[in-house]
Subunit: 516 residues, 2 copies
Amino acid sequence: MNGAEAMLETLITGGVEVCFTNPGTSEMHMVAAIGASTGMRSILCLFEGNCSGAADGYARMAGKPACTLFHLGPGLSNASANLHNARKANSPVINLVGDHATYHKQYNTPLNSDVVGLSQPVSHWVRSIEDANSLPGDAAESIAASMVQPGRISTLIVPADCAWDECETGAVTTHTLPPTPRVSGAALDDATVMLERDIPTVVLMSNMALSQRCLELADQIAQKTGARIFCDTFIPRLPRGAGRAPIERLGYFAEQATEQIKDAEQLIMVGTKAPVGFFAYPGKPSEFWPEGATLHTLAKVGEDAQDALTRLAERVGASGLKARRTTLNKPGLKSGELSPSTIAVAVARLMPADTIVVDEGGTTGSACFPATSNAVPHDWLSLTGGSIGYGLPTAIGAAVACPERKVLCLHGDGGAMYTIQSLWTMARENLDICIVVFANRKYQILQIELARVGAQTMNKKTLDMMDLSNPDIEFVKLAQGMGVTADQATTAEEFNALFEESMNTRGPRLIEALLP
Amino acid sequence: MNGAEAMLETLITGGVEVCFTNPGTSEMHMVAAIGASTGMRSILCLFEGNCSGAADGYARMAGKPACTLFHLGPGLSNASANLHNARKANSPVINLVGDHATYHKQYNTPLNSDVVGLSQPVSHWVRSIEDANSLPGDAAESIAASMVQPGRISTLIVPADCAWDECETGAVTTHTLPPTPRVSGAALDDATVMLERDIPTVVLMSNMALSQRCLELADQIAQKTGARIFCDTFIPRLPRGAGRAPIERLGYFAEQATEQIKDAEQLIMVGTKAPVGFFAYPGKPSEFWPEGATLHTLAKVGEDAQDALTRLAERVGASGLKARRTTLNKPGLKSGELSPSTIAVAVARLMPADTIVVDEGGTTGSACFPATSNAVPHDWLSLTGGSIGYGLPTAIGAAVACPERKVLCLHGDGGAMYTIQSLWTMARENLDICIVVFANRKYQILQIELARVGAQTMNKKTLDMMDLSNPDIEFVKLAQGMGVTADQATTAEEFNALFEESMNTRGPRLIEALLP
């Protein structure tokens, strides 16, 4: 067996089942190995950023890594923005990056670059393979490295000769995953003391603290101690809707977030860090907590949040309480002019149980989150790294991980153009994804931010840099051109009818919501 | 004036006139400065890889840098594959990358990343700004760094507070460009001795050695000494067609290139390196020159090729000769089944004088280069870094640099999907670009390479990883969806008519050539 085959068998026995791929010549032996295998599903994407975003979405829903297959440094570069988002989501991903044969790199040919240097800023773990015999061991290590909880980015750089040379060691088929560290007794002691004080307290949670079980534990603690439970603005995955324990979400803008927690005298972080601004603004503080508030991290991102909350609930005497559950409350549909709020109402009313919502709705999509608090049970995935263009690819990955669930992708028009090629893969794989494009034909967030940062040159030349009209983008044609059924909605009635039909039909579907 | 304004005035007085932009919140003060300026044209692209490719095309035709405007690390990542191509083309480019305010980076918020680390592999020069006062000086240095001949990638990382803080130093308005080093007398001596030997000699040229004047000098030397003149397979820019001095081009595959130069006993490199394989193949040599041949570099990439060739022509007594000129010879149009060769004939016959051909035609477009040897005078730009998706953006930049010239972009279908958003910018700016998409609906080069590397698993699962059908991509709809007039050609007659109309009409136009 050659290096590529031994690597692949190692990955498959380690539980890696899906490869999102965009290969080139230097990856041909890995392509052949995947083609000859039965245990690795291959999904072709037309741009590497679609692969990395798909691996992120897959990881968030499957709880384990997919692998990607990229062509040297430039292939990795194209994947890097969505690897950045995946890294910030703490998603496990294994990148397989082909490189020139070890003896060929010295010639510095056109495709040669510093692949290790390109990998490091977007990876937690990077390994450049030395020879075919070390490939299976390094592949096994890449799995373990990606599964450090909640999840990490592993990048395995595979020179072509390491893939095609005979591998005498054979595949590694015994895998050990890293344990998840428990929080210290001291961290628990401090949190207990804080919660037993009778002063306003906020518990801020994200990542592993956003499982259903953790939300229930946090709610028990809240009932017992009066603490308020919040999650970060941008969360990898949040189970919510009817039957789930409730949680408040911190607002995006400083004026929202600081208002929400202005009374807090103590903040306890579980699986996240203290709340700060997404960006800095001239003359405004970056830190959102009230001056003088006590900050305490109960569980860092990589620590066992469920264990910590279980122990904390026991300490404060909340274990016996029953967690509150969100009730189902479907709003009535709206008619008339199409707007962010009429769309939000339709989503809240019509999406089916267990929908996975992939949210890159931006400014105009932001009404959907509050509107769906009392909708059917669902999962909410958001843009964790701030790099737009994550939504369509992440929807691919979520749909591959959960083929029985509807995926609803809420997308701003600007961000959708970044990785628009994703539509083709959705059509090819017949994935059950409904995309709602919020077509306001501008980078609206930037027009808001321009004023907020005090850079107030609002002339035409400035605004043109944030304007997506001239020409208007026709998303219906783009979708059709890649094999996805698509329609435009210009009124609430049109949107409601199209959305309802889409919720009741399987397969990829795009609705362009043309906003005034 | 704030830092952003001082930086912008520095760039403008340094001759930088165009900014290809895709900004975000952290760039708002730079956006405002550009919006308030009259000396900097702003061109919005919907994806950062479109900006960097456009800057490459602009630089190749204008001989000076454009700047780009990107949003933190992920914006730079999205630009990086085409920065790789630009770096390999030795194109001058100045990247302006916004970053978090200096005091905000410590919070490691969602968009935070190692911007310096991401910049280094794709840049020759990187500077992270420390404060508003150092911004103009660093901007001036970025221009000089980009103009080290033939051209380099400068990356200026601008924390938001450095842009919005008051800049007391003001703009830098006096600029000094770096001199181009001349080749040593010893390098010239060796080349002279080699050419005076009566043995088969090849002169291999690229980069600065591919100016019209250099081609003429090389031809004079060839006439006098019997040397054969070649250019690299992938060249930043080659003036060719009627009236230009002829040059042979080295083939892509080893079996082509080694056959072309199999008799050479000496190779002299001017503005390039000794010829090697694009990729390694199992059991085949990477080096293309015949065993035992003498190699000599007369001028390295950054050295003054024209000066070197002028002196060499004098030394060998070729200065008085008249360079040969390619004659005009237009072929007759073909009819019947559409094929790569019928398209090549139409291009050779119908393109107007001074067309700029941006070639990412891949496998099926490769017939166009030989077919156009005796066409009207034109420039040929090719994919220098091997990272597909350069063609459409580079066409944007070439058209912006040369608004009076027709740009013809020959593009494979696979590569075109990488940066398809470029079509929107072409429509918005009404650029005079005709795109021919060679729609064979596969990554054909990979199917060829799969066999060549000996990875012969040609089953359906393997071939699906290189197949672009299921669903077929409808380029006409994609183009129309972004405001570009488009048609599909299925016969030679249809193609000829559409192509002729496009050559006689200004503005962006796409022809999907559906190949059997």
